[in-house]
Symmetry: C2
Subunit: 139 residues, 2 copies
């Protein structure tokens, strides 16, 4: 029997509060940040206790690369953005998570980073639902 | 004969001005950001015309993952930092480059991101040389 590598994994409470589930990928849970300022997705590898990218196994790293590609390409196609910003910071939420953000010239933080930039601006529920539906359809 | 995938590659002028070469890895040129506020390395894949991670070939992505692991592990061991921050933004410099930054509680931008945070503070030349020597020795 294969070991259950996801055993013991629970999503960080802050990630849970700030974002909504989009779907399950092979390794990651894909979530949408509830911030209408930028189309912003988060990939959370379902592995307990991992904080750094380099602490994933080589196979999990390959999976994450594959899933991040898929998500970044879809988000760029969907939004027509100028640039994808990808980042794994984790200074506040230590559970490993990878941000994939659609950036466009003239967006609120352009050309600076989105992290830590002012307060989050939640979507109206129907807008968030529509964004999530569009991401799902584009994957 | 194998095609020369590096043909036509030249380092972006701003990356050249803001950082110093550490060494060549298999895919990337490894550079040290000349900013004494944080131990900060940059991997630049030697591929012309690439702006997004997902535009690299699958083999190049695997190489980049391998090299980024090596660099992040070494930097964490060398500095004893709290957290590695990795990011590929490219809003200002479009040539694909991956940041690997050692972050510690109480550093100048903690817990926010380093990108766009105040003016760069160059090292004294001997300090920069010493940082680069230490990175080389730890790889």
């Amino acid at each position: 029997m294969l070991p259950d590598l996801k055993a013991g994994f629970t999503l960080d409470a802050r990630l849970h509060a700030d974002s909504e589930q989009v779907m399950w990928l092979g390794l990651c849970e894909l979530r949408a940040m509830n911030d209408r300022r930028w189309p912003w997705l988060i990939l959370v590898p379902q592995r307990p206790g991992i904080e750094e990218l380099h602490d994933l196994t080589p196979l999990d790293q390959a999976m994450l690369t594959f899933e991040a590609n898929l998500v970044a390409q879809s988000l760029k196609r969907l939004t027509g953005c100028t640039k994808i910003n990808s980042g794994a910071l984790g200074n506040i939420v230590r559970q490993l998570h990878l941000h994939v953000v659609a950036r466009s010239e003239g967006d609120p933080a352009w050309p600076g980073p989105v992290w830590g930039f002012g307060p989050r601006e939640p979507y109206r529920p129907a807008e968030l639902r529509s964004f999530i539906d569009n991401v799902r359809a584009s994957l």
